[in-house]
Subunit: 393 residues, 4 copies
Amino acid sequence: MSNINVAMIGQGFMGRSHSNAWGQVAKFFQCPSKPVMHTVFGQEAENPQAFADNWGWQNAATDWESVVKSPDIDIVDIVTPNFMHAPPAKAAIAAGKHVACEKPIAGTLAEAREMAEAANKAGVKTAVWFCYRRVPAVALAYQMVKDGLIGDILHVRAQYLQDWADESVPLVWRFKKELAGSGAHGDLNAHIIDMTRFVTGQEITEISGAISETFIKKRKLMTGVASGSIAGGLDAGKDMGDVTVDDTVLFLARFSGGAVASFEAARQATGNQNRNGFEINGTKGSLKFDFERMNELEYYDATRPRAVQGWTNIMCTHAGDHPYVANWWPDAHLIGYEHCFTNEAYDFLCQIAGQTPTVPIPTFEDAYQTQRVLEAASLSAAEKHAINMDDVK
Amino acid sequence: MSNINVAMIGQGFMGRSHSNAWGQVAKFFQCPSKPVMHTVFGQEAENPQAFADNWGWQNAATDWESVVKSPDIDIVDIVTPNFMHAPPAKAAIAAGKHVACEKPIAGTLAEAREMAEAANKAGVKTAVWFCYRRVPAVALAYQMVKDGLIGDILHVRAQYLQDWADESVPLVWRFKKELAGSGAHGDLNAHIIDMTRFVTGQEITEISGAISETFIKKRKLMTGVASGSIAGGLDAGKDMGDVTVDDTVLFLARFSGGAVASFEAARQATGNQNRNGFEINGTKGSLKFDFERMNELEYYDATRPRAVQGWTNIMCTHAGDHPYVANWWPDAHLIGYEHCFTNEAYDFLCQIAGQTPTVPIPTFEDAYQTQRVLEAASLSAAEKHAINMDDVK
Amino acid sequence: MSNINVAMIGQGFMGRSHSNAWGQVAKFFQCPSKPVMHTVFGQEAENPQAFADNWGWQNAATDWESVVKSPDIDIVDIVTPNFMHAPPAKAAIAAGKHVACEKPIAGTLAEAREMAEAANKAGVKTAVWFCYRRVPAVALAYQMVKDGLIGDILHVRAQYLQDWADESVPLVWRFKKELAGSGAHGDLNAHIIDMTRFVTGQEITEISGAISETFIKKRKLMTGVASGSIAGGLDAGKDMGDVTVDDTVLFLARFSGGAVASFEAARQATGNQNRNGFEINGTKGSLKFDFERMNELEYYDATRPRAVQGWTNIMCTHAGDHPYVANWWPDAHLIGYEHCFTNEAYDFLCQIAGQTPTVPIPTFEDAYQTQRVLEAASLSAAEKHAINMDDVK
Amino acid sequence: MSNINVAMIGQGFMGRSHSNAWGQVAKFFQCPSKPVMHTVFGQEAENPQAFADNWGWQNAATDWESVVKSPDIDIVDIVTPNFMHAPPAKAAIAAGKHVACEKPIAGTLAEAREMAEAANKAGVKTAVWFCYRRVPAVALAYQMVKDGLIGDILHVRAQYLQDWADESVPLVWRFKKELAGSGAHGDLNAHIIDMTRFVTGQEITEISGAISETFIKKRKLMTGVASGSIAGGLDAGKDMGDVTVDDTVLFLARFSGGAVASFEAARQATGNQNRNGFEINGTKGSLKFDFERMNELEYYDATRPRAVQGWTNIMCTHAGDHPYVANWWPDAHLIGYEHCFTNEAYDFLCQIAGQTPTVPIPTFEDAYQTQRVLEAASLSAAEKHAINMDDVK
C-alpha cells in the first residue's frame, strides 16, 4: 500500500476532527493508500508545533502557501475560519493537489462557481466536509430513496436547530459577517441543504419565501482568544459590538421532483442542542433523521399491512446491512460525531484512487449548488418574494 | 340547577363528537346549568330520528330554520358541512341564541367579520370548536406561557400533518372547493393557527411566504353516501373529477411579539396520521405538543442547572395540577379525542352563565382572526410575495 | 333489539367507570341487546340516589341482596371494595344472573375456585374486569401472537408500576389487608398476570422466586370518607396505623410454553405513574406495551430485511385493522382509559347473546387461575424458594 | 510529562477497543503520564505483528510470560478469552505491574478473591474493564445518587439484553463453559451488577430467586477462526455440539440500603440489540439509562412542582456539567462506544499517578464482589431457593 501525504491548513475545533479522521482512518478501514499526516499549518500564535505533536502531524508550518505548493503534498485539507477557505483551496487546485475543504468553499457565489470549474478543469478531486452524508443513518436514507422504498417524494422538512447563542455569548467570529460570511444560514442551513439534495437526489428549483432575523443585535466584545468550542471563546469585556449576521433563517422551497420543502436554521431554539435533521414523506414511505440520535433512522413503510404499519426505529449499527458499520465495532455498538469525518476521509481516499466511494462525495460543484440555494434564500428574505433558482447563478 | 336547551344542526362524524359532549358533560362536570339535548336537525335522507334515538336527542327535525328560531332553544350547535355553517349561525344570532359553531364559521372573510360583529352586537355568546385548546396539555402550555415560564417567544413551529388522502381516496366533499372552502389549509392550518394564537397570546402580523400545492389533481367520483369517517365515504366509480382544493399549504409568518414562525398542513404526509402540534422556543424554555400523544407535553426548562437540563415529558394527567383532569379519571389515566369537546361544552356553559372558563374560549372574533391568516397565506402563495396582515381585513 | 337489565353493586371510582361503560356502549356499538341501567346499589351514607341521578341509573337501592335476586335484573355488575366482591357474586350466580365482577372475585383461592365452579354449573356467563385485555393495542398483541407473528415466546417481562403511595398518603383501605386482601400484588400484579396469560395463551407453571416488601410500614390514620381517587381520601389525623399489605411484589416465573418471565408491581416506583405493561420476545418478533401510551404497540419484526429491522411504533387506531377502533372515532383519533370498560361491556353482551366476543373475555375461571399465581408468588416470597404451580390449587 | 509503557495481552474485538483507547487517550486528555503502546502479545496464528502495525504497537510478541515480566513494562492490559485472564494477571501482579484486566478476572470465586488480595498486598493498581461506568450518563447518574438527588433508593431494575444468538449462530467460544466460564450471566449480568453497585453505592445482600435457562442446547460446530465480532466467527459445518452455558439468567435481589432489585441477561431477546441499562427509583427521584442511547440519561425529579414533573431526557454532552465531555467535542456532539475505554484509560493513568479519577475505578476487589453475586445467583437458580450473600465468599 502506497502512502499519500496530507497537509492540513488550519487548526481549531475542526482541526481536531480532521486530525482524528486522518489518524484513525487506516486503523479501521482498508484504505487504497495510507494517509500520512505530513504537515499542519497554523499561525504562529496558535503554536502549530504543539498541535502537531498532540495529533501526530509530522511537521508544523506557519506559511500555508509553501505548504500547499510543496511537491511532498498530495491532499490539502482546509479547516481555517470561513473567510480563509478560498485562498488555499484555489492555490491547491492550481498546484494540482486534491482538496478537501470545510464549507463554505468561497465568500461569494461567483467565486464558488469559479472554484468548482477550476477543480474540474485541473482534474483534481475535491471533497467538502458536508460530513453528515456519512452518518450511517443518512447514507442508508440515501440508499433507501435510491432503491425506491420511499416512492415519489412529496414533502421535505429540514431543520438544523441549536441553542448555544443566548445573550451571554460574546461577539465571537461566528457573529461577524466579514469573518463568517453569514450566521445560522451558512453555518447550519448549508448542511441541511446538502443533506436533502443528497438524500432526495434532487435540486431545489424555487425559494418560495424566506425569513432572516437577528434576535440579539449587540453582544459583548471578546477579549480572549478563540479556542475549540463552537462559541469559540468566552472572555468578554463590557463594551458591546454589532452582530452582523443572522440568528435564524427559514425558507420554503420546491424540489425538482415536485416536492415542497421547508428549511430552518436557528441558534436560539432552546432545547434543540444539535437538532440537525430531516423528514421526507413519499408515496410509499417516509424517513426521519435527527443528529441528536445519529445512530437511528426512522422509517415508515406504507406498503406494509395496515395493522402493523408504524414508524420503525432502525438502529443503523449492523455490519453489512448499514454503511460504514463493518469497519467500526460489533453490531449495536454506537459510533459518535467524529466517525463521520473518518468515513469521509476513507471515501475521499477511495475517490482519489479511482474507486467508488460508499455514497457520493460532496464536491466543489455540490458546494456551489448549496451556495446558490443559500444566496437565493437570502435574496428572498431581503426582497420578500419568491426566487426562481434559474435566476441565481 | 336550571336546564339549558341545546339544538344541534347537522350530524356526521362531528355530530357524534358533539352529541357525546352534550351527553357526557353533566356526568363529569359540575355544570352551572344542565344541558338538555333538545333537538337535532338532519336532512331527511340522513334519518335524524335514528341519530336522535342513538345519541339521546329528545327530538329530531328536518327544518333547521324553525329549530334555530324556536323559543325552546338556548344554544345552537352547528356541525353541518362547511358551506352550511354561516346560514344557521347567522339565523341563530339573529334569534338571540348562543352559538357554538364548527369552523370555518363563514365562506368568506367579510362574512366572518360581519358574523363576529353581529354576535357582539347581539350580546350572545359564541364558541367555535377549535377544541384542541382544551386538550389538557395545550391548556397547560397556555398557562405556562402566560406565567412567563417560557420567557420571550422567538420561534413557533406548527404543523398539522395527516396521510389519509392517497390516490385511492375518491372525490369526497373535502376535495371540492364549493363544499369545503379549501383543503388542508382550512381543515388543518386553521387549527394550528388558532392553537398558536391561543398558546402564545399573540397575533400574526406578516405572512412572509407560502406554498400551496395539490399533488393529486383528479380523483374517482363518489357514488355512495358520505358517513362518519374523515374521508367521508369510499364508494367510487371509474369516472374521474377535478380536485379543486389544496393538498398542502406551508407558510412562514411573524408574530406580534417578534417570533418567527412556520406552519404546514398536509394530507399526504405519509406516517403522520394526526400530527397536530407545535413547538415554541422562548428565552427561558420551550414547549412541544403532538396530538398523537395528546396526554403529554414536552417542556424544556432552560433555567434549571445545566447538568440536568433536558426535555421533560409531562404526563398531563394530574388532578389539580393539570386543567380538566380532576373531572375525569384518577391520576395518570389517559383521556382521548372526544374529551376535548366535552371540556369545551363545559367551558361554554360556564361562559354563558357568566363564569370564567378554564381557559379562554375561541369566539367568532377568534375565528375571524384565524380566517384572516388563512386568507393572507393563500394570497401569499398565489402572488409569491410576503403579505402584511394589516392589508387583510 | 331487546333490553337487558343491569344492576350495579357499588359505586366509587370503579362505579363511575362502569356506569360510563353501560351508558356509552349502545351509542357506539351495535349491541345484540340494549343494556338498561336499571338499579345501582350503594350504602345509605354514599347517597346512591345522587349517584343514580348523575349517571342515569333508573333506580337506587341500599339492599344489595334483594337487588341481586330481583327477577328484573339480568346482569349483576360488582364494583364494591375487594372484600365485598364474593358475597354478591355468589348470590347472583345462585340467582341465575350473569355476573360481571371487579377483581379479585374472592378473598381466598378456595373461594375463587368454588365460584368458578358454581358459575360453570349454573350456566351463567361471567366476566371479570381485567379490562386491559380490551385496550386495542393489547387485543392486537393477542391476535399477533395467535397468528404466529412472534414465533415461540422465550421471554416475558411484565410490570405494573405506580408511584402514588409516598409517605403523605394516609392509611386508606388499599393499605389494609382485611379490606384489600393485598397491596400492589393483588391490585397490580393481578392485571399483568391476566394480561400475559391472555396475550401468550399460556399458563404459568412455576414461581421461581419472589420478593414482597412494605417500604412504608406505618401511615397516618384517615379521618375523612373515601371518594373517587386511587388513594381514596386524603383527610388524615396525627395518629398512625399499621400498613398490613405489601408495597411491592416481584417474582420470576416460567410459562407452559417454555418462556422465562419476570413480574413486578410497585406503588413507590417514582416516575412510573401508571406503567402497566409487558414485553414479549419471541423467535420471530417482539411486542411491547405500556398503558401510559395505551394507543400504541411496539412491534419488532425479526423476519424483515436486516437493514430495515427495528421497533415499529404501531398507532392502534385504524378502523378495520385494529380491534374496537371502528366503533369509536375516525382513524388516528385516540381513545382513553374508560373505553376499555365500554369495549368489555360490549363483548360481555355479545357473550351473553351467544356471539363470539372480539377477543376472549376473562371469566371467573381466569380469575381463579390468576389468583393461583398470586398466591404461589406470595408463598414463594414468604418461604424463599421456588413453587411448582401444580402444588397450588 | 513522563512516559508509561503499556503491554497488551491478547487481541480480538476487545484488543481493538483497548488499542484505540491507548492510542487516543493522550490526544484528547491531559494525562499525568504519556502511555506508550509498547508491546502487544498474540498467538502466532493471530499474527500479532500485523495487529501491532495496524494499531501502532511498537512491538509484537508471542510469549506473554516474558512480556509481563519485562522491566520495560509498567501496565499490563489483558484482553484474552476469559479462561486466559487470570494467568497473566497473576503473573503481572507478581512482577509488580499495574494491571488492567477484562472481566471476569478469574475462573473461580476463590481465585478472584486471592487475586484481589494479591494486588492489594503488592500495592499495584488494578482496573477491570467494566467500562460502562465511564459512559458520561452513567458517571452522571453516580454523581446524582451520591449528591442525594434521588433520595433513598427503593427499586433497582437492571437488564442487559441482546439478540444476536439465534439458531444460526454456531458454537463459538462464548457458548462453551470451559472457555467462557458462563453465558449471558458472566458476559452481561456482570456488567449490570457492577454498574448498579457503582451507581447505588450499595452491595447486594441477598439473591431472592433466580432462573437460568439455555434455550438453544445444540449448535453447529465451527470450522473457521474467530475474529472481531461478538459471535466471533460464523463458518460452521453440519455437525452439532452441546452448548454448555446459559442463554439467559434472571435473578431478584436485595441491596444493602433496602432496595429490591431485578436483574436479567439474555442473548435471544429479539429487538434488544444492546440494551444494557438500569432504572433506579428513589424517594426523591428516579434515573433510567439504556446503552442503546448511551448519550442520554432519563431523570425524574419528584421534588419539582407537580404540574411540570416528568421524565427529563438529559443529553449528557455538556462540557463542565457532564463527566468526560470537555475532553471530546463541542457541546451536543455525541460520542460512541469506544470512548468509554479511552475514558477509563485516562482515569487509570490518573489513579496510577496518585490523582483522583473522575469516578471510582472498578478494581479487582470490585470484580470479586461482582463475581460473588454471579455465583450466588447461579446457586440460587440451581437450588431453587434464596441465597444470603454472607454465605458466598
